[in-house]
Amino acid sequence: MSAVIGHDQDHDHGHGYHPGGLMRWVKTTNHKDIGTMYLWFSFVMFLVGGFMAMVIRAELFIPGLQVVNPEIFNQMTTLHGLIMVFGAIMPAFVGFANWLIPMQIGAPDMAFPRMNNWSFWLLPPAATLLVLSLFVPGGAPGVGWTLYPPLSIQQGMGMDLTIFAIHILGMSSIMGSINIVTTILNLRAPGMTLMKMPLFVWTWLITAYLLIAVMPVLAGAVTMLLTDRHFGTHFFNAAGGGDPVLFQHIFWFFGHPEVYIIAIPAFGVVSQVIPAFSRKPLFGYTSMVYAVASIAILSFLVWAHHMYTAGLPTTAQLYYMYATMLIAVPTGVKVFNWVATMWKGSLSFETPMLFAMGFLFLFTLGGFTGLVLAVTPVDIQLHDTYYVVAHFHYVMVAGALFSAFAGVYFWLPKWTGHMYDETLGKWHFWLSFIFFNMIFFVQHFLGLAGMPRRIPDYAPQFTDFNMISSIGAFGFGLSQLLFLYIVLKCIRSGEKAPQKPWEGADSLEWTHLPTPAPYHSFETPPVVK
């Protein structure tokens, strides 16, 4: 990163009106407070969604129905998916964006602090609606997170609560994204040109555009469901001139970019962490930016690869196959660049680096199974099986979640002013890494051998892999409590952290701000050369 001159910070004067206690958090417009709330919210949702995963894995431990009935099982898979995607992973990266973007571009705060407050405070009601749907007559929707009609038309009022929850989550995301785009485009310090921005900022700029483009599409899709359910429209009903597959097209036009909305900020975090612990600049910065941008653009052109079995015309199957395979090119460029960054560096393996390398290794594996699934004839066999479940958990958990862990350990000293316990951090990594592979690696075999997803009971030949998977899941779940302990210990009693605890870190928050970071990041913008 570029050298910066003439920074002269005064960290202790006039922060203006400061309510204490709970009202501090309700009324705050500070990007750090809001970032913190996003991160804690996402962790709570991670535990809630994780608990649902435990119910699923408990039921699947052995054949037969033991723990829950099929209705509850389907509700668990649906809510697990929705909560993890919209409640855990997305808010976690918005939390990172809030904390880091102003610090990394030399800004005092986000561009629209009040809207920032509102976009966070929309989340708890939305999450409440989702969880509440479990307790209304008919229960939560048991339709999978994809909400395909006509099954979703058959559901009870839990479905309506889910639809409203998605509306609110969408509003929150759109406002958050507008804020991020405006901040990045307008509040950069003098000299911080676009091509000098840290890669994390770049990835969020692109992600924010993706969000603004697709969240309204999802809102439209679920609104059409709502009117089909209650107001006599027939968008998805063939008897009334509609088409159930129309929903799938609209949903995946949102859904595929959504995958990258989750993955791209993860790329950003990893692109900060790997150079720092390689003590070497990121290899191919420019090509990284172009790779992310081309992945984002391609993500709009491949949605129907989720629908190879829906009955597409042959030509469409071929087009979507070719376009999907093409994504492997920019993704490959990113992986090669990360490895080239490590090449001839001076590597050390603190917890953030371990998680970043776990990300690199397992995300690439998930990318390869994605390539397998892109090939239409192979996907015909694997669609809606556990192979797909394994594939997207490699991308979502080992990809996005591991990258979020890397980010938390990396920036925790800057956020709290304390170092975390390195030994425990390494334990957390190794436990997560081993248990993760225990859960999901064997699921590839389950899918190949023919176990469909979203079934509460299965044929006995799938038993041993399911047992391994369930044991892994309980281990993974418990390991995350260790993470909670590490974070709390760091906040309360961690050793005092220096301004720049990582030798190779070079963005503004390390080079120009003390630890812990001051309440208002840069009151006078630094000058970036």
């Binding site: 054949p63 037969g64 129905l65 009935n69 099929p70 389907n74 048991g142 999978g144 395909y148 006509p150 058959q154 063939a238 088409d243 159930p244 990121l282 290899f283 191919g284 910065y285 420019t286 090509s287 079995t309 042959t314 199957q317 071929l318 196959m321 070719y322 093409l326 492997a328 090119v329 460029v333 090669f336 080239a340 490590m342 001839k344 560096g345 001076s346 590597l347 050390s348 393996f349 290794f361 690439t364 594996l365 390869f368 397998v372 090939v375 239409t376 004839p377 015909i380 066999q381 669609h383 809606d384 099986t385 690696f441 075999f445 190949l448 051998a449 023919g450 469909p452 030949q461 892999f465």
Partner: protein, 284 residues
């Protein structure tokens, strides 16, 4: 020749990833099920090719990474180089994968084209997904087998007893993959299936045939298969369709043509007499 070789590698490639003890006893567990149609065989081979390409690249890339982790660590005193770009290398690793992908797309395209060619069938069967069972109807067709089974209907429901599901009885050999009335088809004949649904989405999937097709209410999709040997083939509904989604299996019995004709003749009489009985009952 190459295909046989590929299949052998395919059977070996996946287990190589996990050095586990038990795989020899049951190979099918580690890979796609044994294919019994030409299309399923193409899918199997295609999967093997793609998997091998991915494995080679994976080992190459992470070989470099692990070498770097061993040799370029700070603890062994390695000094960091400061290079951060190299246009030649970057162009190479953008262009080469592109050509590898074209190499994969070629057989994949052939696979798609043959999989989708449902023309000139010998027998046409309409498949309907219900919450939660499958209905089969042998349509009056134009192919070789027209007249043999015309108009016959079968409803196919899970036959595993509830006690087995709830653990009150030991689980049978084909637990959850058994039905009261299986679909019966002739071997070596092109069977076209017209797939639809009555209520919500379902998907008709028989892994050994390489057929998985969503059943969409109000629309008809098609697929086809030509089974290479007699036997019983099992599959499941593959699209979430409500609470009994896991309990609507598909069982297809493939038999020699002559046996099929005998079965059809016998069954037609049975269907007709049931229909007459039902009609009489309604009339009363």
């Amino acid at each position: 020749m190459i295909k046989t070789l590929l299949r052998k590698i395919g059977a070996g490639a996946l287990p190589m990833l996990v050095p586990t003890l038990a795989w020899a006893e049951d190979k099918a567990k580690w890979n796609l099920q044994e294919p019994h149609t030409e299309v399923a065989r193409q899918m199997y081979d295609l999967h093997t090719i793609v998997l091998i390409i991915c494995l080679v690249i994976f080992i190459g890339v992470f070989g470099v990474m692990f070498y770097s982790m061993l040799k370029h660590r700070k603890s062994v005193g390695h000094q960091a180089a400061q290079f951060h770009e190299n246009t030649t290398v970057e162009v190479i690793w953008t262009v080469v994968p592109f050509f590898i992908l074209i190499g994969m797309a070629w057989p994949a395209t052939k696979g798609v084209l043959s999989m989708r060619d449902a023309s000139s069938p010998d027998l046409t069967i309409k498949v309907t997904g219900y919450q939660w069972k499958w209905g089969y109807e042998y349509l009056k067709g134009e192919g070789d087998l027209s007249g043999v089974a015309d108009g016959m209907q079968i409803y196919s429901t899970l036959s595993t007893p509830r006690e087995q599901i709830y653990g009150n009885a030991p689980k049978g050999e084909h637990y959850l993959l058994e039905v009261d009335n299986p679909l019966v088809v002739p071997v070596g004949k092109k069977v076209r299936v017209l797939i639809t649904a009555n209520d919500v989405l379902h998907a008709w999937w028989v892994p050994a045939f390489g057929v998985k097709q969503d059943a969409v209410p109000g629309f008809i999709r098609d697929s086809w298969f030509k089974v290479d040997k007699p036997g019983t083939f099992r599959g499941q509904c593959a699209e979430l369709c409500g609470k009994e989604h896991g309990f609507m299996p598909i069982v297809v019995v493939a038999m020699e043509q002559k046996e099929f004709a005998d079965w059809a003749a016998k069954n037609k009489v049975a269907t007709a007499s049931t229909a007459t009985a039902a009609a009489t009952a309604t009339a009363k």
